[in-house]
Structure formats: C-alpha cells, structure tokens
Symmetry: C2
Subunit: 338 residues, 2 copies
C-alpha cells in the first residue's frame, strides 16, 4: 500500500459505480462542536404491547399480526410503491415521468422485540436469509416487477421508526439508478476481461489483506477500497452468483455467520446498538440473463467517532462528491481487531 | 399537468444528472413515530465571545479574526483539501486513487452572529455575492485548481457546527462527480438542440407556471420537476452564464433579492430557522470553454412536515434511488403562497 494514501488527501475510484470519493486522512484531528446524537440502547422487553410489529398486536389499518415464531412478512401499510399503479408515460417538453408500479413489504426478523441482528442465533439468521430468498422469488416472479431491493434501516438516526428487528423489501418496475450503475460496470468488465469484477476484486483483497475484516469458507467481509461511510462494509460471496437464490445450505449458514460477526463488531466498536442502512444488491428480475452479476450486501453506517458523533453527508458531499476522514484501511484495522 | 402525477407513484427524470427520483404522492398520510429534531432558534446576540467566527475572536490555531465589517474569508483550519498535496497516481490491480490537491476556505457572511441569509439586507447580500465572485476568480486562477465549489451548510441538522452566518468554498484539482454529470447533460443537449438546456427548461417552467416560486427581471426561483428533497429549490439566472463572474450589477442585486425571498419563505414555512445545504454549480475552471454551462444555485433542505420532522435519505434511497412523498408542484404551491 502506497504510504501516500495514508497521509495526503486523495480521491479513490469506485469500480462498481464509476464514482469517486474524497479521502482526507489528515482530518481526523478536527474538533467537533456540532450536533451530537443520542446513543441507542437495546430494548429491554421481548414483547411490547405498543409495538405494531410484535406478534398478536393490531396494526394501524386494523390487521392483527399472527403469533409468529420466526420471521413475519406483510405489505407495508404506507408503502411508497403500490401494486395497482398504471405504467403511464408522461412527456412534455423537458419534463419526463413514468408510472412506477411496485410493492413495499416489511419483514420482521424475529418475534422478540428486544433483539437485533447481532443478538440473534445463527440458525434464526438463516431463517431471515431464507425469508429474503422467498420474497426475492415471489416478487421477482411478479408481472411488471423487474427489480427487488432488500434493505434494513437500523436505528432512529437512520429513519427507523420502530426498534423491533425488521427490514423491508421494495420491488418495482424500473431498474433503480444504483443498480443500473453496478450492472454496467460488471458487464463492461466481464466483456473486457472475461472474468467477474467482484471475483477479481475479492481475490486481490484477500491477497493484500489490509481491508478484510473477516471471512469463512464461502464469504468475505471487507471495507471496500472506495468506502464512503466511515465504517462502510461489504459481505461478498466468494463464488459469483447473480442473486441470493443460488446459495447452498452451507453458504446460507456462512452468510448468516458473517452477518452476525460484522454486526457484533459494529456494536462493539462504540459500545452501542450500532445504526446503519444495509442492502443487498443483486441482478434485476426482468428475465434477462445477468451473467456478470455478483450479488453482495453492503452496510452504510453513519457513526464517525463515537456513539454520538456521526458523519454528515451535506454541502460538499451533496454538490460535489462523497468525502471521508478516516481511510478504509484504518477502519478495517479497527473492526478486525474487535 | 397530467393528473396521474398527482395520484400515482411515478419516477421523474432529472435532465441535469440523468438520474431518476421516485415520487409517492399518496404517502403523505403516513404517521410518523420516529426520530424528531430540535427546532432551531435564531441566535439572540450579535456578538458571541465564544464563537470562533465573530470579529476579534481567536481561532483554534491562534489566529485572531480582524474586526471585519462585511464578509470575511479565511483558510479552513481543518480543511479536507490542502494546497501542498502531490498529484500522485496510485494504480494497483483494481485499486485506483489519485492525489487531490485543493483549498478549503470559510466565508463569514456578516460580522453579526445573530443573522442568517433571510435576515440580511439586500445590499449586504450583494457583498456576499461579490465575495463569492472574488473567491471564484482567485481560486479558479490558482494552478492545478480546476473546480470551485461554493456551498453553505445551515443548521445543526446539516452538520453545521457554528450558527454564525457562514459558508464554505472547496476548490480542487479534479472535476467532482456531480459537476461532471451536469457538464455532460448540458453539453449533449447543446450539441443536439443548439440551445441551452436550462434556458429551454426555465422557459417551459415560466410558461407552465406550476413550479415557479418567485422571479424578478434576471432570475427565476423554482422547485425543479425532479426535486429530491421535500422543498428543494433552484435559483436560475434567466440569461445563460457559465459562472457567477458574468453577473451585471443589476443581476447581482436581483440574485441577492431572490436569495432573500426564497430563504424568507423557507423560514416562514415551518416557522423556524430553516436548515438546508445550498450550493452553486458552475463551469469548471480548467481553462476549457464551457459554452453549454448555465450556472445555478440549489437548495437541499431536509425538513419534511414540520420544524422537527425531516426526510431520511436512507436504505431504499441509498441502495436504489431517491424517493419523495410530496410532489414538486404541491411544494411549490406552498412556498409560493407564503
Ligand atoms: O467543514 P465543517 O462545517 O466542519 O463540516 C461540515 O461540512 C463538510 C462539508 O460539507 C462535511 O464534510 C462535514 O461532514 C460537515 O460536518
Ligand atoms: O418505511 P419507513 O421505515 O417508515 O421509512 C424509512 O425508510 C424509507 C426507505 O428507506 C425512507 O423512504 C423513509 O424516509 C424512512 O423514514
């Protein structure tokens, strides 16, 4: 690793999106006098009569949650995407819009209100992975649905309004911006090199071994070279697969294990229930054959220095490009050591 | 305006970046039980002995601020970009980085600690505009500096750590991602149509008159059709100019007037000192002739429903695409009426 990357401001290239991030390694000494967040405590009680995600409770639309034992999936009562949307086209001079048909669902990871992913048993996390697979299959096979986004917002700071362990799936007609970028990059690389972009990338990372946080037989967890968020991380299957349906039983177990390892490290880092948004990027479900796609799960956590000081992606970041203060290598070193 | 845009989820195309935003007009009824912010009060005192931006106070590095009367500019004591950065190139397999030379400066808008842009006199805002021009000239003419980003983070919620009225300028060697997108879009349009993209756009907006908030002889302030943030707005000169140096005296006055009008409306909207990040996008300063560029100033404010409920750009937005609940048209109607 060039020592210049440790000392001088520089930009790094994201091979998946084609975008750059500004890295300012010298800036960690900056004093912080701005806004601080409240540190999140874990929930104390396994059942909360006020929680609309707990088993047997009634949701705002009058529906009663079943007494579920593992995961539980239902249609979002206030979904941003709706099934009965016409696929209209609106074009008027320089104004261009299209009807966006879709489905928004909520996935409860566990009936236990007080758990989060790092607290769950690996066997129970395998059930979460299988629920994601089921949703991917069902939504991916729905007419007019061409992409399925699985994600989790964890912590109030990430806009999550209920601490009950849950994630979401938003599936839609169009291919979202971020996915399109990653499709193009992987496709171009495969065409040019004849090999998978992420396969070659993780091979290089495993050899260099400075950004790898942990691994097992089937998965590697690392801070990507081009990470934007301070402790951004990526869980990547070692084998190229277009989507999560390709997982063998052993791989499901290994995935669940890395999920638990990474999130446990996160909680330990600042001794808090670590907030993040996570998401699985995989091939579109429009029926085309995406042989370039190598699915992966990314974590974008906002905390920078402690449980109460976050990184703000504001002015410069919104108008120019992403910016970070600590290097990917030092973030990886910290997480690895935990 | 098609009535379908008022009722159905749809995506809208951003002609400047080539990206889409998901609009969910039906979703405004969603109850909010999540995180709330503290509403910002204006500062009561015109001089704060503890503020490192007030005149005559000593900054953290020991420098003493002059007893300035209008604006005051100094180099950021903890700049993310530094002047003595080597322009090295790092390429190692799939890892790609480049030294990023630059300068980060702070611009105090006024010696008065208790003011914000909407409270300032138009004559004093003209001085701010002239300070931006001076910085753009000086930094733009600096060797190895090819782009100058002027911006403001206002409010603690936008990562601003000091309420004293101030903005920043970060100037750098490379052309940032967002600017590159806008350069390409404007260039392609000019080549294809022979006219300016934003010129044709504002002409259409002025004719339709559903997203225009205010205007004067030289400027129009509107909510762009593809706005991402709930009350995102844009101040655009009616005349095509590559950068702010082209402004006549009359245009400077008109710009200052629209700046004041928009930010006053913002403060009135939720009866709070309205937070936002704003930024001026203009042509790069690398010496090339950017005849396609039409500079403009954009405002990205986070508040959604009240002084304490903001829009979270999290999971889905980070992994898929931007999403908003209220339409650009209804946001414009509200701001216009104030
Ligand atoms: O430079 P400041 O005001 O200390 O810092 C603020 O603005 C910068 C530029 O948008 C961001 O990088 C920081 O995250 C934010 O806290
Ligand atoms: O759907 P929720 O959890 O109510 O809402 C949260 O996640 C959504 C998807 O990332 C965002 O659009 C919302 O801004 C956020 O508050």
């Amino acid at each position: 690793m060039s020592s210049q990357l440790k000392t001088h401001p520089h930009r790094r290239y994201n091979i998946l999106t084609g975008e750059w991030v500004l890295v300012s390694p010298h800036r960690t000494k900056r004093p912080w006098q701005g806004k601080t967040e409240t540190s999140t405590k874990k929930e104390a009680i396994p059942y909360d009569p006020e929680c609309y995600l707990c088993p047997t409770n009634t949701r705002i639309n009058g529906e009663v949650n079943p007494d579920y034992k593992n995961t539980y999936v239902f249609k979002n009562d206030f979904g941003a995407l709706l099934e009965d949307t016409p696929l209209f086209e609106y074009k008027e001079g320089l104004l261009h819009a299209e009807g966006e048909k879709g489905i928004s669902k909520v996935i409860c990871f566990s009936p236990n209100h007080s758990l989060t992913i790092p607290d769950m048993e690996i066997a129970d996390l395998v059930q979460v992975v299988e629920t994601w697979q089921n949703e991917f299959t069902e939504l991916g096979n729905t007419e007019d649905i061409n992409y399925v986004q699985i994600f989790e917002n964890k912590g109030a700071i990430m806009g999550c309004s209920n601490p009950h362990p849950h994630g979401q799936v938003w599936a839609q007609h169009s291919i979202p911006t971020e996915v399109e970028k990653k499709t193009n990059a992987q496709k171009n690389y495969l065409e040019k090199k004849g090999s998978g972009l992420l396969q070659d990338y993780i091979e290089q990372e495993l050899k260099e071994d400075v950004r790898v946080i942990s691994q097992n037989e089937s998965f590697v967890t690392l801070i990507p070279f081009w990470a934007v968020w301070p402790y951004e991380a990526m869980i990547v299957p070692k084998r190229k697969m277009a989507n999560i349906l390709g997982l063998t039983d052993k791989e499901k177990l290994d995935f669940a294990e890395q999920l638990k390892t990474l999130t446990q490290k996160y909680d330990a880092l600042f001794d808090t229930s670590f907030p993040y948004s996570s998401g699985i990027h995989q091939a579109p479900t429009d029926g085309a054959y995406y042989k370039e796609w190598h699915w992966h799960m990314s974590f974008y956590p906002p905390l920078l220095r402690s449980a109460t000081v976050k990184k703000f992606m504001v002015g410069y970041e919104m108008f120019a490009m992403a910016q970070r203060d600590i290097t990917a290598e030092s973030a990886a070193e910290k997480l690895k050591s935990l």
